[in-house]
């Protein structure tokens, strides 16, 4: 048959019967569903009770297993006496913050194993609760991180937004870090517990605890009913009991609803009820074979903490507490030693850094004390004696500084670095004038700045103060060095002022200064050649011309245009060839030119 949308219809009719039928069908379906829901509800309620009973038993068994593991840990740590207290603490944080037992127990185990102290573990657990709430992580993870931090591994703490660097985390004591964390995250767990999600967790945990209690009661009850059977048998018995309970409830409801029903129906229900609850009645009437109902609660939870312990147990508990305290003390001492060692290492590293810098400075100094370069500079400057002395002294001080560095004597190193700095400045000043005359690069520019840095580092590190005498010597040396210049400046000033005071003296002085030049000029003029007779000049010559009358000075290469002599050589006789003749004449002219006689010529042949 065709699908609805595949029919090309040209005429159709609405058929209302379909709708009426559909409505009828829906009503019928509703009735069926209603009756089914009723039946299903009955079955489901029974199944729900069974399921709840099973989950309660499971919750109880889980809690019991966690408790056994925790107690075992406490026993191994010598803290068995604190078991009930810790259990109460775990229950309380579950009720207050919604921390489930499967998180709280491993967390507490980790903390107890690390600290060995119940009090410290509880403190750290409170911190872990805040960390977990603030960072949205599980309490067990937070507690694990804290226990690792307590033992020296601070890696996990860096993830908890402490605001401290890794180095600071390493250097601070755990108590300081914990105090910081408590300060920063104070109230986080309470705030989180106040949220809707937190309230749900608290409800869930309280329900779990209730389930544990119910589960324990159920297990006890079914143990009584079923004897020493397996867990599966217990569960089966529980299911049967739940079914019976559900049926009882249902029938009871029917009884209430149908109070006006015939008495035989009521009697039938009662008969069924009696039949199905016979064993409970027998249990109540005949007495509890195991004495469960008659005996008062005898579990450990029924007694106060102190009352639970015999004198021997109390002695053991006190002893265990003392041992735990001793161990905690030992752990604290180890932690303190570790911190001290870390501080020492940091101080040594700082020293090493300063000494490394000084060593780098020495390497730089070695380059400066290049003998070849020193000799060259000394030859150029003619100040060998004074500078050599300084260099030798510097070299000695450098050797002393090396010794101090190798011995690790920071104060000594600072002292020698200070002396080196002082002498190096003197040396640099000595070299200053030489550098303007020499092309040799000034090696002290960079060295002095490095030296100053190293000196500052060493002085800071060793608290060494430059002696007043040394400072005075330095200033005095500087003044001594500047004294000649100051004297020269003063003399110059006096002379200039005197000259400007008397113009005649100034002119005379100028003439006196110019006298040697004038005498030299006169000497040159006296020895200058005289050209009154003529002559040939082929290079720069100072000469006296026109001394005996007018003369013409004509460049030799313009002699022709100025009416030079034309020589015509007529050859008679026979020569070998005309070219030989030209060559002979040319050679003769060259010879004359070589002797200083300029001759222009041309040849025609």
């Amino acid at each position: 048959m065709a699908l609805p949308n595949l029919v090309f219809s040209v005429a159709s009719q609405y058929d209302g019967k379909g709708l009426a039928k559909a409505q009828k069908d829906i009503k019928s379906l509703g009735k069926t569903v209603q009756s089914f829901a009723g039946a299903f509800g009955v079955a489901f309620s029974a199944a729900a009770i069974v399921q709840f009973g099973k989950s309660s038993v499971k919750a109880f068994s889980d809690a019991q297993r966690e408790g056994v593991v925790l107690n075992n840990t406490l026993k191994n740590l010598g803290l068995a006496f604190a078991g009930p207290e810790i259990n109460r603490y775990i229950d309380s944080i579950g009720k207050l913050y919604g921390v489930t037992g499967d998180q709280a127990v491993p967390a507490m185990q980790a903390l107890l194993s690390a600290t060995g102290s119940v009090t410290k573990s509880q403190e750290m657990m409170n911190t872990a609760l805040n960390i977990a709430a603030a960072n949205n992580i599980s309490v067990s993870d937070a507690a694990k991180g804290l226990s690792q931090a307590y033992l020296g591994n601070r890696k996990a703490l860096s993830q908890y937004n402490t605001g401290l660097t890794k180095a600071e985390l390493q250097l601070k004591s755990f108590d300081d870090v914990q105090a910081l964390l408590d300060k920063r995250l104070k109230g986080a767990a309470t705030e989180a517990a106040g949220t809707y999600a937190g309230q749900m967790l608290i409800l869930k945990e309280n329900a779990e605890q209730a389930k544990e209690v119910i589960g324990k009661g159920l297990v006890d009850a079914f143990k009584i009913l079923a004897g020493d059977k397996t867990t599966e048998d217990l569960a089966e018995t529980m299911a049967t009991a739940a079914n019976n309970t559900a049926r009882f409830s249902r029938e009871l409801a029917k009884v209430i609803k149908t109070l006006t029903a015939p008495i035989d129906f009521v009697s039938g229900s009662l008969a069924w009820f009696i039949e199905n609850t016979q064993k409970y009645a027998d249990l109540l009437i005949a007495g509890d074979p195991s004495g469960f109902f008659r005996k008062p609660v005898t579990g450990p939870e029924a007694r106060p903490l102190i009352a639970q312990q015999s004198p021997g147990e109390r002695t053991m508990a006190v002893k265990a507490a003392q041992e735990a305290e001793k161990r905690a003390k030992a752990l604290r001492k180890i932690e303190q030693d570790r911190l001290n060692n870390l501080k020492k290492i940091a101080a040594e590293q700082a020293k090493k850094l300063a000494l490394d810098k000084a060593s780098a400075f020495l390497n730089q100094a070695n380059k400066i004390f290049d003998l070849e370069r020193i000799q060259l500079q000394a030859a150029a400057m003619n100040k060998q004696t004074e500078e050599d002395k300084l260099r030798i002294r510097l070299k000695t001080e450098i050797l002393d500084l090396e010794m101090a560095i190798s011995e690790g004597n920071v104060q000594g190193a600072a002292k020698f670095a200070s002396l080196i700095n002082q002498d190096a400045q003197l040396l640099a000043n000595l070299r200053q004038s030489a550098f303007s005359l020499s092309d040799v690069p000034n090696p002290f520019e960079d060295w002095l700045s490095t030296l100053q840095d190293v000196l500052n580092e060493l002085l800071k590190l060793s608290n060494y103060k430059v002696p007043l005498e040394v400072q005075r010597t330095t200033v005095r040396a500087m003044l001594d060095r500047a004294a000649p210049d100051i004297a020269a400046l003063q003399a110059n000033n006096a002379r200039v002022s005197a000259q400007y005071d008397n113009p005649q003296t100034m002119v005379r002085s100028l003439l006196d200064r110019a006298a040697p030049d004038i005498a030299a000029l006169q000497s040159i003029l006296a020895s200058a050649p005289r050209m009154a007779e003529g002559g040939v000049v082929t290079n720069a010559t100072m000469a006296l011309i026109g001394e005996a009358g007018p003369e013409a000075v004509i460049p030799l290469n313009r002699m022709g245009s100025m009416g030079g002599t034309y020589v015509t050589v007529n050859i008679s006789g026979s020569v070998t060839t005309e070219r030989d003749l030209v060559d002979a004449i040319t050679q003769g002219i060259y010879n004359n030119q070589a002797s200083g006689i300029p001759i222009n010529y041309s040849t025609v042949y």
Partner: protein, 208 residues
């Protein structure tokens, strides 16, 4: 869009009972309008397959028979889901049929009185592919999500105004007819019913 005729079914039933010749005459008249449209729709069935969709064509000569193109194919081995039908021109043409037997009620409660329909699966696919998603299924999780769009594009355009009245064969013929057949059918039915009412006036009361 089909025209709704109130009381037509009852009238037809009455005609069948009291004046079958009149009903036959009407049906013949309507058939004379609808069959040419059916034939026209059959003419729009591509042969041997739409465009070059060779892979969709069924049982060409020399083609290896597999479980997909076997004449005995019905279901796959898992879950009894029908295989995608292969295109066979002959089957598609034969599947385009005209009927004047009132159909079953559709979801809206209407029954078709005179209609052309597509009985073959491949024909229905060719008729309607791309009505809803011309570019293929946008939520396709196939390894080849563009295959749907390719398949639809190869089939050519859909003819018609509204989404559910567009197609490539029957609906194309109806669209190109521009309602003439429908008018003729309505006219035939109206005339016949009027005639029947005249004949039966006083005896059975008015119909339609």
């Amino acid at each position: 869009m089909p025209v709704e005729l109130k009381g037509a079914l009852e009238t037809i039933k009455a005609m069948r009972k009291f004046d079958p010749d009149l009903l036959k005459e009407m049906n013949k008249e309507i058939r004379g309008v609808m069959v040419p449209m059916r034939d026209k729709a059959r003419g729009y069935a591509p042969s041997p397959q739409p465009d070059n969709l060779y892979g969709w064509a069924e049982g060409s000569v020399g083609k290896k028979i597999t479980k997909r193109n076997s004449a005995f194919r019905q279901f796959n081995v898992e879950g009894r889901v029908r295989l995608f039908p292969l295109y066979d021109h002959k089957t598609v043409v034969a599947g385009i049929k005209y009927s004047q037997a009132p159909s079953r009620r559709n979801r809206s409660g209407f029954r078709s009185l005179y209609y052309i329909y597509n009985a073959s699966a491949a024909g229905a696919i060719y008729e309607t592919a791309g009505r809803k998603n011309p570019g293929g299924d946008p939520a396709s999780k196939s390894n080849n999500p563009g295959a749907g769009a390719h398949f639809i594009n190869r089939m050519g355009p859909l003819y018609g105004d509204k989404q559910k009245e567009r197609g490539r064969m029957i609906f194309r013929a109806g669209y190109e007819d521009r309602g003439k057949a429908q008018d003729a059918v309505i006219m035939a039915i109206s005339t016949t019913i009027e005639k029947f009412n005249k004949l039966s006036k006083g005896s059975y009361g008015l119909a339609a």
